[in-house]
Point group: C2
Chain length 359, copies 2
Amino acid sequence: MFKIPAVWMRGGTSKCWVFEWDNLQVPGKSVDEVLLRLFGSPDHRQVDGVGGGTSTTSKAVILSRSLGEDADVDYTFAQVAIDEHKVDWGSNCGNCSAVVAPYAIERGWVEPGQESTSVRTLNTNTDQLILQKVPTPGGALQDPGTQLIPGVPFPGLPVGMGFLDPAGRTTGKLFPTGEPLDKVTFDGRQVPATLIDAGAPLIILDAASIGLTGHETAADIDSQAALLVHLDDVRRDAAVRMGLAASRAEAERAIPKLAIVATASPDDEADLVVRMLSMGRLHPALAITGSVALTMAAQHEGTVVRDLLATDPSSGLTMRTPAGIVQTWAEVRDGVPVVGTLRSARRIADAELLLPQTW
Amino acid sequence: MFKIPAVWMRGGTSKCWVFEWDNLQVPGKSVDEVLLRLFGSPDHRQVDGVGGGTSTTSKAVILSRSLGEDADVDYTFAQVAIDEHKVDWGSNCGNCSAVVAPYAIERGWVEPGQESTSVRTLNTNTDQLILQKVPTPGGALQDPGTQLIPGVPFPGLPVGMGFLDPAGRTTGKLFPTGEPLDKVTFDGRQVPATLIDAGAPLIILDAASIGLTGHETAADIDSQAALLVHLDDVRRDAAVRMGLAASRAEAERAIPKLAIVATASPDDEADLVVRMLSMGRLHPALAITGSVALTMAAQHEGTVVRDLLATDPSSGLTMRTPAGIVQTWAEVRDGVPVVGTLRSARRIADAELLLPQTW
């Protein structure tokens, strides 16, 4: 049998199996085939493999030292299907991204600093540079770290993730329509919207303008079929106006995403209240790319976000989401804008996965 | 941090983390505390640990070489709670039991034979000796084996599990009432029943005598509240008559279990049709201890099982369960009766689990 070295890490609210490319080379088999067999797919329980039978526990991150000048580590995210014979390489996972810096430091690929260590990572799925920063007091990673995040009852290492120069990576422009504020048609009415491309393309609507509060639960949203139709109309129109699709019909379901924002009350203990829609459903928290786009929007006069803020957004935002508080930070480093967020990560196990000689 | 060696194995339809006792000793912590933290409990997703967030993937097996004369390996099963701070040591798991022989052979605790290898295992939860037998052609375990079982889409090593002298281990007698056939009260009527103690205590009813066919689904059973009440009445009466409880009220929910049996038709491709009730619900297949008791019952004249059989039960039974066919074998070895069943097992990963220094 083959023995495949791998490390099991929690990244944010996901469990991720971390591999190095060289270790996934098996004669006569593609990397997809190797991952599927290791994870025990297809099988709804993945009972004969290392997958956990849910989308957040059937994930792989594959690393190598970077050959380019701009990054220390290149990483590729793979979503291993559970019931199907399929590996999806189409997107990055913000949660699993958080394992990259701790892994690279532990592996000796990056020399740790005496207080903290910065690791320049390149996500190959999206060609996005993410600057990760982990505390390393005395030149070592903490055990196990003290960072708590919503959805995980145990602490881990804090991993700051800074998206370098995130503006316009998909469309070429921060505001693809040329304006920080547009009008879009919602249920026959014109309502204000910000169409922005930072981290990923996003449409931002003011909750009040569409009859919502921003504090809606998943059940509140899911029970309003007409609302979901109107929001998808807005999304498809925006896809065309942002140059992401040639026609409404061709707009992809995943891009752009849509955020509904509202002024925070003192009870929210935040700068902004956010409900995000992804794939036609309320996101349980906030996609990391969405938090980047909202933070960039806050820094520009005239956007839907800026108009709702009572606080100074120049160094980042504190956002109230269904899962709790999500915090971002913003800075300019060597003249390049960086927008960052914080996740936590923990190494769960070092392993050798046993792959049958034939299957 | 502590590094705890462990092996992840599939045993039957479960995933089991396999430890050796010495490796679970951590200063200032109980084994329960160590297991809970390793598994990431309490947390309904077990996202920061090696547990899989379901009962069949939150299991541990802890091994040591046996100090006694009767066994090669002692093993203890632990069900690690998911949402609670609790480890249940009260019962054995027939699925996870199947990992013991392959582990012991791989570990060098037992010298492999040229065709097959027998490993004498002692389950310490139940004080039951189980003789396990695995093919080792040419003195080696196969990779990955070819045994398929219902519920697992990939093959593994076949592991024969023979329960040595299973009669009367709880009550001291194969038939605790002294008779192979009794009458019990079901819904005010007297119906025939076999009360047997082999592997574990079991009441066996003829499906036809209580208005069932033996082919019922979980939905069929769950929707009949009155039926479940009558069956629990039978169970509580039997607990008293078998000497397992002083009164009906004191009867435990888990013991005895109850099996409903029916004559097999040619379509069943089996000797017997079985529906088993465990903890007040239809079992998805058949508990391994239940299959042992049914096989022993079949070998005795006058029991409910024997009266339904058209085949010779002396070498074992083929039983149709909701999950498919379950097969048992029976033999006499050195004058001792052995009843066995077959599972499959596969080693999924060799690992070191990372336990934080403090938590």
